[in-house]
Amino acid sequence: MLALAAGCPEAPPLSLTVEPATLAADGLTRAVVIARTRDPIEGAVVSFAATGGALSSSTAALVDGEATVELVAPLERELGRSPERAIALSAFLQLSESERLEATAGVVALPPTDGPPLLFLDAEPPAAVAGSGGAVVLRVLARRVAAGASLTIDVPGFDADASATVEADGSAVAALQVPATPGDATVTVTEPASGATALVVVRFVAEGEPLYDLTGAFAQIGPARVKLVSGALAPNPQCAIAPSIILATFVQAGLDVQASYRTCDVTFPPVTSIVGTITNQATEAFYQAIPVVEQQFALPNGELGAEYAPPPSIVVVGAALGDPEHEALPTEAEDPRVEDTDGDGRPGVTVENSLGGLQNIVFRNIGYAGGQVRSSNRIVGDRPGDLLATTETSVFGIGGAFLPDTTALGSVVELVRIDGRFGAWDADVDADGAISCAEAKDAAAAVAELVAPDTPFDCGEER
């Protein structure tokens, strides 16, 4: 009551609103995002971030206490099978080295109501032992198909329901009988009026054979979480998400797997220092310089849910070390261990730092990515700690003052098949029979489903 009598507002120092609260995931619809300050501030710029869609700008000037940007909706394919996708929005305003105002809001992306029908098809389980009896459940999710519509189901050479009826929630269910002999059943579901289809391959294996076959190309999508510590950071420490995309190629024989991992993309998180925001951008030559990691390992059993636990991957770029895991990184360009790995005439490898320009560095990444084999198409590491990636960097020159020490925080990871086998996403856009890093990067946005654990900028409880 005293506060009301005094007329003093109870609003937070910075607030964030989004209008409307939902938007169609058509890649075009826009929402207006407004950050408002409680107190008058002149000459300030608000920074924005979103976990989905595309912001018209990551910054906006504060005018009369408001800074406005637009959020362009994500594409429908980014929803995957989910009926909706929550997008977290955040805004901050750095007033001084120690004072930072922050606010968060949310918006929900929904499947568009206009457009052609879209079908998704899953099999539960995705594989079974031939002759074991019972049935596999075929689950269809139909978007923009009227309730009561009949979908046709085609499984050549296998005993399955010929049709399924769409329910009010868009779901439809059918059964595929487990056959007496091994074989792959290719299931196609079709919405007759539009011709929309979806496909899944169900594996029926002989007794004793693995229920999954990982042979092929996968996108390993890892939203690594890191804690950054440096005297030049404000605040110090800072925590951030550093997403990476790795093209993983497997050859499976029995339970033995021969794997190769090519790093296609690593996003260095921007850091806020005593002189402002600093970003690091890797060059294409940088990625080319990262060696492909080859590994051989055995899976513990052939059941769905088997633990996938390859050895840690150790990569050193820019130097040749006798003990890549433990040896200290070179600190001088003249160190004989330093190599011009990216071939640009500079020692080590080169990244572009928004403050210091081109930086010549040596870096080491020790990464562990594990999970469970859910099917021939998907390995899921959804336990925080299934992804642990530690990066250590040595910089030649003055830029080192702004490169922080990095500690890995537990995160999640998923490996999703992108070579079209077993009805999976086919990323081979140029149809040359191989998946390139560019194709893997394009596919990753469409197939990713896991979201990294909450990572407060100031590290919260993980300080």
Binding site: M1, L4, A5, A6, G7, C8, P9, G27, L28, D39, P40, I41, E42, G43, A44, V45, S47, A54, L55, S56, S57, S58, T59, A60, A61, V72, L75, L93, Q94, L95, S96, E97, P270, S273, I274, V275, G276, T277, I278, T279, Q281, N353, S354, L355, G356, A438, D442
Partner: protein, 124 residues
């Protein structure tokens, strides 16, 4: 005055105080402040909503600016896997239909960076 009416009067006074208080100028409004650290740049990206395959398109980021300094570096990405362009503006031609994400990165003279994004529909 009955006990009930006294209570009603008291409540009316409280409501009146609250209403008056809510309309009074805020007694604790602080003086305007200004940031004491460098503020990031402001990217401005102008992209047509649509174009045809093979048609040169001007991607214009020339309105980008920095409130306390100058834009010192800029890159444009076109969403088709092609090489990025250096600078605030560039002409680009898409070779296949689709919905592409165009991005402009700008860096100011004190090292702060910002990004603007827009989508363009390329038709056959």
């Amino acid at each position: 005055m009955t006990r009930v009416s006294r209570l009603l009067d008291a409540r009316a006074v409280l409501v009146a105080v609250a209403l008056v208080g809510a309309t009074l100028p805020c007694a604790c409004t602080p003086a305007p402040r200004a940031p004491t650290v460098n503020q990031p740049p402001l990217p401005v990206l102008a992209v047509p909503s649509s174009a045809r395959v093979g048609e040169p398109v001007l991607i214009d980021g020339e309105a980008s600016h920095d409130p306390g300094g100058a834009v010192s570096d800029a890159h444009l990405l076109f969403g088709d896997g092609g090489d990025p362009a250096t600078g605030l503006s560039a002409e680009h031609t898409w070779q296949a239909p689709g919905l592409y994400l165009v991005e402009l990165y700008v860096v100011d003279n004190e090292g702060a960076a910002a990004r603007a994004r827009a989508r363009i529909q390329i038709t056959p």
